[in-house]
Subunit: 325 residues, 2 copies
């Protein structure tokens, strides 16, 4: 592994934490590919929750307590929206709102989401490249016992209460990778691909559902490493284990490894789950994966990159693409 460029696949809050750690180490050698399956139109605005969480987190503009949205946020827009009878189930902070309004305006002018996100990242002083997984619409639909729900209706409005039967990604089959995304995989010096500890079913699967994304991952010679979002049989945040139970999947690292089996060369699991390492169907690294501070994030990022370097030089590469290589 001579190059130092790294691609991270990322959903929202949990994944963005590791992306922040990687960014600290890699700067402009990092490309973050972000889930857009959660994107939706609300109040006439085009909202890209995961992309924005990544942008705010990389720029240190995020609210560290709440996890989503911006630090120092105010909520006068929402209070006033309630007053004029608007829909208030999705919280939009006053500062956050500017990004939605400007994105919507530019999309309506015909600009690509990729270009808009690129410009905003530069304005936020982010040297890493942040790329939406596709400029074509992909919409995550959660089939539940209460019927099919668009992602934000399930996640925010229904607070993940309905029982999940299946998750589908509307439009994914027809979605293309952007030229910028293809270029990120094709440029020389790609050292590793990191799947951040986002929810595999809700946040990473939509990325993998874009056919070209899966092909690019199959074709790359760089090692692919996932960081498990499961610690001690539970997720740090969000409905990961609830969904796993509802889909009849055990909340174990082995389940995560099997889920990513065709894609990854190795899985990173938490120190407390060391006893699970032997049962995993892929190579693994056991280290502290809980990320509270920036130090935690950087330390985990360094461990993940070291692990990837090790895998790259290992003779035991098992994925099909390597046997053809």
């Amino acid at each position: 592994m001579t190059g130092k460029r790294v691609i991270a696949l990322c959903g929202g809050i949990g994944g963005a934490k590791l992306a922040r750690g990687l960014y600290e180490l890699l700067g402009l050698d990092l490309t973050v590919i972000v889930n857009t399956g959660d994107d939706f139109e609300h109040l006439g605005l085009m909202i890209s929750p995961d992309v924005d969480t990544v942008l705010y987190t990389l720029a240190d503009l995020n609210d560290p307590e709440r996890g989503w949205g911006r630090a120092g946020e105010t909520w006068n827009f929402m209070a006033s929206l309630a007053q004029v009878g608007g829909e208030t189930w999705f919280q939009l902070g006053d500062r956050d709102l500017a990004l939605h309004v400007e994105r919507t305006r530019r999309l309506q002018e015909g600009q690509s989401l990729t270009r808009i996100v690129h410009d905003v990242a530069r304005r936020f002083g982010i040297s890493a490249e942040v790329l939406p997984m596709s400029d074509d619409p992909v919409r995550t639909i959660v089939a539940t016992d209460a019927g099919p729900l668009p992602f934000q209706r399930y996640f925010v409005r229904s607070r993940c209460v309905p029982v999940v039967r299946a998750i589908t990604f509307e439009g994914a089959d027809a979605a293309r990778a952007s030229p910028e995304l293809r270029a990120a995989f094709k440029q020389p010096g790609l050292a590793a691909i990191v799947i951040c500890p986002s929810n595999p079913y809700l946040s990473v699967d939509p990325i993998l559902a874009v056919p070209e994304m899966r092909e690019l991952l199959q074709e790359t010679e760089a090692p692919v490493v996932a960081v498990s979002p499961i610690i001690g049989g539970a997720a740090v945040k969000g409905p990961t284990t609830k969904i796993m139970a509802e889909l009849n999947i055990q909340a174990t690292n082995a389940s995560i490894a099997r889920h990513y089996m065709e894609i990854i060369d190795g899985l990173v699991i938490d120190s407390g789950d060391g006893s699970e390492a032997a049962s995993l169907p892929v190579a693994s690294l056991t280290t502290a994966t809980l990320m509270n501070s920036l130090d935690d994030r950087v330390t985990l990022a360094r461990d993940v990159l070291d692990f990837a370097r090790e895998l790259a030089s290992s003779p035991q590469r098992v994925r099909p693409r390597y046997s053809a290589g």
Copy 2:
């Protein structure tokens, strides 16, 4: 004059002050017809500055210092918009923004501006009827020495600096009065029509440029009274006298009276301008027209209504419609 219903024609800040005074006296017997020639699309949002100023002023939600926008306003959206590279020449407060977002969403759903404004007025607890002058788009264009400028570009972005050559109202010829607006004129018990002391050329003329509006004013048997925006040869606020000079019109109450000649039965001028009364081509009332406090507004409103009552019972009605009546 047996009825007590009053219609006020109104632009933004100056006019809204008198509308507020009339509202204090009349409550649900007041209908305010508001200029929409200043309306424009900005950042993908449909903005109706004069309508909003009237709504905020009647609901006591307006900022009394600044004149426009809401009290207790915050500006985090604008700060953030600057950060992401959006256009910032038109100030949109966080609270104010909710009305623009909700109006835009409802207009895009096909709802009329009249209905939206009606609902917002009710939510704000306003018992008076607030009606846009038309649901059809009318756009005030200011022809200047710097070329033609849409109203907000002239008024806000260029700060009224360019020299005005002419003012036109794009779309006015084809604009219809709404059924609600026609009904306001046709309901029994209309006691008076008041033209508020808004800028006659920029804020009242667009209302009068809607052909049906002019017809309704010609046909009504209620007295029409205008309050002059000129006090001591100057306007309280805004570019009225600058524009008058550029259009080669003397900044006098006589000029205002002549401007409204075909429409009004009487003009209300300020106490300090009493010496001009004799030179006016219409009946006049001289009283304090400067409105600082709510008391000032109510007092002026009462004077205006008394004056209208006097005119209604006077044998000296001079407008053409009366000779036919």
